[in-house]
Amino acid sequence: MALSSLGQKKIGDIPLQSLVLILAVVVVIPWIMPNNYWIRIAGNAGLWIMLSLGLNVVAGFAGLLDLGYVAFYAIGGYTYALLCSGHWNIHLPFWLVVPICALAASACGWGLGFTSLRVSGDYLAIVTLGFAEIVRLLLLNLDRPINITGGPNGLPDLDFAHIFGFTFRTVTQYYYLVMFFALLVILASYRLKRSRLGRGWEALREDELAADAMGVNTTYMKLLAFGIGASIAGGAGAVFASWQGGVFPNNFGFSQLVTVYCMLILGGVGNIWGVILAAIILSILPEALREYGAFRMIGYGLLLVVLMALRPQGILGEISLRPKRKKKEVEEPETLKAAEELFYGDGSHDFVKPLKKGKLNKDRVLLELKDLTMIFGGLHAVDRLSLKVYEGEILSIIGPNGAGKTTVFNLITGIYPPTSGHIIFDGKEITGLKPHKVVEKGVARTFQTLRLFTNMTVLENAMVAQHCRTKSGLFSILFRLPGFLKEEERIERVAKENLGLFGARLTGFRYKQKAINLSYANRRRLEIARALATDSRLILLDEPSAGMNPKETEEITRFIRNLRDKYGYTFIIIEHKLNVVRTISDRVIALDYGKKIAEGSYDEVADNEYVVQAYLGRKKGRV
């Protein structure tokens, strides 16, 4: 047990050396810049970093196409203008106003998210764009009959930032103020990304359905992303307004939105350092070209088109700041080695899953289906299916293609609400619950067509699974409270324990490997590990051995049995390879046309005349 070493590490925080380096650069910049103009450009870069990292939360982490982002920037700016100027003669202190602006924008973000939840994808884009247009028009027109926004005149003569008796006036002073906030946002982004929330968003972006099925409350996470992105934009708006000393309607237009998106895409969506670099480049580049008028815009546009075609992942998309030694997938020797092991986990790993003996317990029904029916457009995919699964049992479902097996899984895990019937898990009804709620109750699954979070690492994939077992909120993540650190430690431990079950296949250097780079068989294994890492008791495996060669198939078969024997899981398995079914199952049911046509031991079912017919087909004239 090497838990103590984990405690010393800073889990997912910016390494101290990097932090010192960044601070040093930030402090030194005003000293090496030739004049105030360049200091201002540097300060502007800081603002753009804030803005693009805020958008990175919404569009980068969570993958939501939010075209109303500048509206929040505007709301922040105008809130500052109203609360810190002679306009209404309110002069609140700076340290109070910035959070108010962030909150105001955030509230609007939640509101927008809440109303647009029903629409997704491109429709979300248009609703948010519509929202931004409405905000823009209101800012332009709410100057009469009561003057709120100053209309086209905007609100000039705002207060300087004023903190505890110190007033920020010069460019250099403001540069430091902006950089302070930019660093805060960088730190917050970094911490968010490496937390359960960050992983949840990334999972959501990679595969919404799989994220839901692994216990991520996708609705809530989307709202949260909207809210956080908006609050960062709001804060940036406040700082911006204070520096410019005024706000004007065209400070917050479509062109600003395009610029922020360019930074995001250029930097590589979701990649914090890439986005920062892109923000810096794109805030300096136009300045260098300022004397060339329209040509700079043409260059800008061409750059976008060419870059999208040549480097769709952004300039820093696949490159990490620190060069990594490349490790290739060396499947062959390991396959041989692992095949020798009877059981993957040889105990040589840091984290060993604690044993918990399990066996078939016929007295306890873990899952019960009652008259479950699912109708798709008149077709009975599942037809009045009733079924009991006992604790510690391995139940296999067989049947030809289109017999409704996967639909049964989709019904149990809440992906479809059934047309009629009941699903009872551990004595409680779970019919109609959302997938993430079903996982919370203790039912996890794998998918027939592998739905891993392909651009996340092996370890992160397994860590996502702990999402519904952890509670750390925004506050404890941002301030790294002990509760969060403890939880994070637990998440990592659980993930590693479950990956450790597969031995070297999924541990060691593979922790950091992206799921997409794994071999097919390893991807199957990772899906199982991920399902196990949800701490569920009932695991639904959809063709766990598909795409595996005979040796690997034998391995996985024993592995599943071992899991039951040593850890007490209950399994329902859909499987086509009947020798797998034979060796593994306590009980087998056969489906055809959504109906249960046989139930019993493997031999009973395999010899059943209806089953043979279902597979081989009825002979002509014998309906």
Partner: protein, 386 residues
Amino acid sequence: MKKVLLLGLSVCLIIAFSTINGYAADVSKGLSIGAAGPFTGPAAAPGMEIFNSIKIAVDEKNAAGGIKGVKVKLVMGDDAGDAAQGVNVAEKFCADKTMYGVIGPPMSNVAEATLRMYAQCNLTCITTAASRPDLTEKGYHHFFRVNARDDAHGPAVGHFIAEDLKAKSVYVLNTKDTYSQGYADQVVATLKKLGVKKIWRDTIVASAKDYSSVLTRVKAKNPDVLVVGAKTAPDHAVMVRQMRELGIKAIYFGSEGAKDKKDFIQASEGAAEGAYLNHFAPDIYKIPEAAHYVKVYESKYGSLSGFGPPAYDATNILLNAMEKAAADGDITRKEVMKYMAQTKNYRGILGFPITFDKKGDLLGGATYIFKVVGGDFKLVKVAKGM
């Protein structure tokens, strides 16, 4: 480790906050002037007319030998009409040690946002279009304008409509920008003061090209006069055209921007006949001094609207001030500012003498009211003493 860091940071901050300012230099180190304005983006059309006119003035000066033999360099500072970019431009111009004056910014909100910064670095600004009254009310000494303020023409126009046109009912439309809104406010206030009872107001979207739905509303009110505050001549052209098409009989009264023979009278293909408009200067085509400029401009850049001539004059005024400041071979920004303020009865191409008052505003300007007659502008009234 952390303590060292904090210490270092605070030392840096203390030093950083004590910055020094002010330049004085030999003329031979270079002379440049800046052009700040929207040279891309939605307001690029008037912006480029301003820039081209500045360029003509600078080129003429350089062709004549420059200032003390030094050629004046013109630097473009495109702000795309966005105050946030305007602030960058200002910082850039301030930091340019060879720069002694700026023409612009022509948009009020950009001017507003950069006022403080140009003042801090003593850089003279002459705007040629920013008309918000309060720009010159804040006590800065570096800011001048050759155009009139919003509150200059509104009252005169109001009086003309109420007294000369004897209107009983007036519909006032304006686009949502600083200039047009201020103009419309002033007109409405004056009309109210003069006892016109029936006044309606509405706003329109600039360069929307279709005003027929709002004009349908105007038609239902059947006003005597329709006053339109809009910055550019094409907007006026569309408006007057669609108004006549809908059969609205009201007299059309357009704001300053309408004074453009090609883009208003010709573009409206006859619909503008009989329309009134106000302008801060007499007709440029009728001023002998302007003939050369008009010829050069139209041969190089095509047709001219109202934004070019003031920019040409402003540039020449600035260059004159710089020449005076550089007379001793040495030039500072403060000197330029001083000589600018002393500008008196400068006779350029605008047809009236330019003198700045203490605030930097144009002194003794007048409102020239024109009527479109036979496809040309005819001066009908000169209202002085605003």
